[in-house]
């Protein structure tokens, strides 16, 4: 099977957990992102910024993972926002209407500043 370069890492920026994603998010790689989001919430962090600046592709499996993360944080009155300026990713967010569901920013700094 082909090796897929997909990396998910998280860090703290004050009260926010920034989840940095690199690579393509699809059926094969989305579970890793899902796992990180679940872990983050289980650890009591409910203010999450998912940084998709390093994501070159996302399909509906990835979108579903983000929605799942949003539902989890909302159960704790938390927030989940996205950082994204990649045209292909913004396009699928727009077609599905999810650009109206998630706050979307161009940089992590902007996401932090607006929260």
């Amino acid at each position: 099977m082909a090796t897929i370069d997909f990396v998910v890492e998280s860090r703290q920026e004050g009260p926010w957990t920034v989840v940095d994603v690199q690579g393509e998010v699809d059926m094969f790689t989305a579970p890793k992102l899902r796992e990180r989001l679940v872990e983050t919430v289980d650890q009591g962090h409910y203010e999450i910024i998912v940084n998709l600046q390093g994501v070159s592709f996302m399909d509906s499996t990835g979108l579903g993972t983000l929605v799942g993360g949003l539902k989890r944080v909302k159960e704790h009155e938390g927030t989940l926002s996205l950082v994204c300026s990649s045209r292909p990713v913004l396009r699928v967010l727009s077609i599905t209407g999810l650009n109206n569901v998630f706050p979307i920013h161009e940089t992590v700094e902007q996401a932090v500043a607006s929260s």
């Binding site: 099977m1 082909a2 897929i4 393509e24 699809d26 059926m27 094969f28 592709f57 399909d59 509906s60 499996t61 979108l63 579903g64 929605v67 539902k71 045209r87 292909p88 396009r91 699928v92 077609i95 599905t96 209407g97 999810l98 569901v101």
Partner: protein
């Protein structure tokens, strides 16, 4: 798993068969994206093709897993008269007929919170409105969509011909 091509009567046909495993969906996207670029699609269209193929292959992988089918999923590309058609053909359980009817009738994008397979088909139709989702005669499903030929730009009025 190697790509194959064949030609008949001026039609370019390319095929890729992948094992029904999620890890190969990226390969299907690479193939489809390369084909789209080769035939002159601009980058926005290339990305749309990749999304549509990824969605179709995702559904096919699920269908094969659900039915225990180990046969490969086939991705076919045909260039004819400038149009470029893509098909993803699987041998899974076949699309649910109710879902098929809903998607063919242009069911609205599901609201956020409903993400079960049907969103992928809805996304394909949003990107390629004429996309067809068909139950195969023997078994499985074929998803077919066409990238129309780029229209030839009309000469602007008043500009000299370069002919």
């Amino acid at each position: 798993m190697a790509p194959q091509s064949d030609q008949q009567a001026g039609v370019d046909q390319l095929r890729l068969a992948i094992p029904p495993e999620a890890g190969y969906i990226a390969m299907a996207r690479m193939f489809a994206g390369s084909v789209a670029r080769h035939y002159g699609c601009d980058e926005d269209v290339v990305e749309d093709v990749k999304v549509a193929v990824s969605e179709a292959c995702t559904n096919s992988v699920k269908a094969h897993h659900d039915s225990g089918t180990i046969e490969p999923i086939e991705l076919r590309a045909r260039a004819l008269n400038g149009d470029l058609s893509f098909e993803v053909v699987d041998s899974g359980r076949g699309i649910d007929t109710e879902l098929q009817a809903a998607v063919q009738q242009g069911a609205a994008t599901p609201p956020a919170g409903l993400y079960e397979g049907s969103l992928g088909l809805t996304l394909i139709r949003a990107l390629f409105p004429g996309a067809e989702i068909l139950r195969n005669d023997d078994r499985g499903t074929t998803v077919r969509f066409v990238v129309p030929a780029n229209p030839v730009p009309e000469r602007l009025e008043g500009l000299p011909s370069l002919d």
